[in-house]
Symmetry: C2
Subunit: 458 residues, 2 copies
């Protein structure tokens, strides 16, 4: 049976025969008895198995090492003096798969840098068992939220011939033989490539989600996106997951409301479904984590324009390395200051049009776009979104200003030609949300098999 | 409000003021009144809006074309003589976004071939509205099933430096400048590529799911996978989604049980959540679809060895283009014959070892592996799986026999070195499951933005 079922129903199981399977996390063998701490991944907690000389293969079991897979049959007994109120008194133990002495995950402190070198084994530590369990739960929570709100899911394609942002560094996808590239008029002949043209990995599923919103009213993508950006920071990965909902018949206020509801839903859901793991993060990874998250559940979310945000920063008397300025982007230090001043999450809206993407809707002032960034305590920008430009003439004008050939996005313009609606959407970086939720601050740790410059294991 | 809420509570809403938004699917304008059929994607059904000369902008509304986005305020009224028991009597109608005469999705029959040329608009037809809604529901059902069974989700990486199957045609991922490739000793110097080595798009997340199973007992991936296979068939796409669960402390019987439960759960869930759409497919796409699916819910699933399957085929008296033979793979015609003879789903197990993948567990006869294919009426092979070889020496031997350098998969061998367990897993092609569930038989139609040879739109 699963160890999680033991923890769930332990009072009913006292003095009952049980059998479990799992991996040895720790082993203390004494002369005439021993203790095995066993985890099977179904519960964060390990269960203590005590064995005595009476079991038939006592001397073999004494030699069982950390990392071994075992099967245990025994009786659940109360242990009022221990941290855990029960243990299993073994009748029989079988070693299913041994673990040699060079097993890298010994019961001691390993650095996270070392653990990154063994991504296939690091999940066998408390930290990564908790982290990847919460990652799985958060993944489900995201789908649950959007399903409950009547969003239709669309898997945006990974290989694409369009460049959603009109910028960014792209990964090329090809089956051409690099050692004998076909040429035509001196240029590489992409008509011979697999798809008959130049293709890349997607940087965003937003534009495809808009297609869905223009029929299903509410659509969302949740999947991998890619940036070939050669930056080695704690928050940048080359392959990362984005949640991108889009809503027709909606404006900036709609997405402020929906994104706030989403963030609060995700926090609540994870706290409810992973209380043991979240307490672990609060104790060992980020002191005060639970307070930080609970605050987001109860604080009002402030809303201020970009202009007001700059004014607030300038009047704050705080010192900045980069001076806040009207018309300019917010630096990380500015974001941090704003959530401090507001003492809670802040939506900054109505951004200068030149510094935001081409698809964002121009406000009546002709100077700002109906965009929003959500800043949260302890993480800065968590979400970015906007009302989308639904007026075909203005969209085309903005495309040209951003150096995008309207012909290359004719299908996107079609959405404005045929039954256009005011609509809006936003994007949440899944991995960054996990960083925020767990306090584990390096994206190389929250992604099971991270891809970063010069690093692609397996 | 959403049109789905009108359908849900219509009796309570009779004589009440309501307001809706949506797109015009059809418009019949008479001299002094008109009917607009409006859909907003939240319900498969359209709602009829009737308007009369009394509305202020009557002559403008008469000109509203199919595809336009409108907002309607009006009163819900009973219409006992119509197909639908209610309609909205409009008080005011606003055209939010017009639709010019060249709108491609007119209320007439379009060929699926034509609709494939407008993937951004084809979802505005009944067929594709139903299809992509069911696709979204099935996506949720898969996650629900595995969550309910205690599986931990892992997003297998898309960019990979390992080749899971030791075969297959791969898409290369690179940021090297193709017009001036860096060379070293006459070879392309991949140390200068983004990841510092040769990388591809993944063909399977199985091996990574095994890593998760070896800590969490049950793990699964559900995401995009890629094959650069130049084959133009109805069931092959270059980018497709796979569901791949893996279970530790499990054998072939476990995955037979779990995959059967999964298939039945998915069918039940979709029938329950999309009754209107499924009735539409049954009526207009595949006559007898619902009977076919209900049969899978009630039929026993037969289990026979590959040897028994060949014997059964040879004794059946049926004529085949390819003669069934011991030791050989099953052709599509053989699969069809087997489900016909069994009159229901069939698991074929214990396959000849030479024709199955390197990671499948060798049976004691030394000739077969503990593999299974699930064949279903009307689709042939739906699922393939196996117990995985957990014995390191035998796995390494099989790798070599398949021409795979064990060093290149040292991490995979590590899973057998440290706490190995008997384990098993299977794969379900998500898009093929959707083909099976809806009767829409071309993979170019069940995927919103399909990628096939020489075809990568957007």
């Amino acid at each position: 049976m699963d160890i999680r079922d033991l923890f769930k129903d332990w009072t009913a199981l006292i003095d009952q025969e049980v059998s479990i399977e799992g991996w040895v996390r720790n082993h203390r063998d004494q002369k005439s008895f021993g203790f095995l701490m066993v985890n099977d991944g179904t519960d964060f907690r390990t269960i203590q198995v005590v064995y005595e000389e009476s079991i038939p293969n006592f001397s073999d079991i004494q030699k069982v090492r950390v990392g071994a897979a075992i099967m245990v049959q025994g009786v659940m007994v109360k242990t009022p003096q221990n941290a855990q109120p029960f243990e299993i008194k073994a009748r029989s133990i079988t070693e299913v798969g041994s673990s040699p002495e060079d097993y890298p995950i010994q019961p001691k402190r390993h650095t996270r840098e070392f653990l990154r070198t063994v991504p296939h084994l690091r999940l066998r530590t408390n930290l990564f068992t908790a982290l990847f369990k919460v990652r799985s739960i958060l993944h489900h929570s995201i789908h649950s939220f959007f399903e409950s709100q009547g969003f239709v899911h669309v898997a945006a394609p990974i290989i694409t011939s369009s460049d959603a942002e009109g910028a960014g560094e792209l990964f090329q996808v090809t089956t051409l033989p690099l050692d004998k590239l076909p040429k035509k008029d001196g240029e590489i002949d992409y008509s011979e490539d697999f798809f008959g043209n130049l293709t890349h990995l997607t940087v965003s599923g937003q534009l495809q989600a808009e297609i869905f919103a223009q029929n299903f009213k509410r659509g969302y993508t949740f999947g991998p996106t890619f940036r070939a950006e050669n930056s080695n920071t704690k928050t940048h990965a080359s392959e990362f997951w984005m949640v991108e909902p889009e809503m027709a018949f909606s404006d900036l206020n709609t997405i402020i409301e929906v994104s706030k509801n989403m963030v609060q839903f995700l926090i609540k859901d994870v706290l409810e479904k992973a209380p043991v793991e979240m307490a672990f993060f609060d104790e060992f990874v980020e002191k005060g984590l639970l307070d930080k998250l609970n605050k987001v559940l109860t604080s009002p979310f402030a809303v201020m324009t970009h202009k007001e945000a700059i004014d607030t920063l300038l009047k704050s008397g705080k010192k900045f390395e980069i001076l806040p300025a009207q018309g300019k982007d917010l630096a990380t230090e500015h974001e941090k200051a704003l959530v401090e001043i507001q003492d809670g999450p802040v939506y900054v809206i109505d951004w200068p049009e030149e510094i935001k993407a081409f698809y964002m809707r121009l406000n009546d002032d002709q100077k700002t776009v109906a965009a929003m960034d959500l800043l949260v305590p302890g993480a800065g920008e968590l979400i970015g979104g906007s009302q989308r430009e639904e007026r075909p003439d203005l969209l085309e004008k903005r495309m040209k200003a951003f150096g995008i050939d309207p012909k290359s996005l004719q299908w996107y313009l079609d959405l404005r030609k045929y039954g256009s609606t005011p609509h809006a959407g936003f994007g949440l970086g899944f991995d960054r949300m996990l960083i925020y939720l767990t306090g584990v601050e390096n994206i190389r740790d929250v992604i099971p098999f991270p891809r970063t410059p010069k690093n692609c294991q397996f």
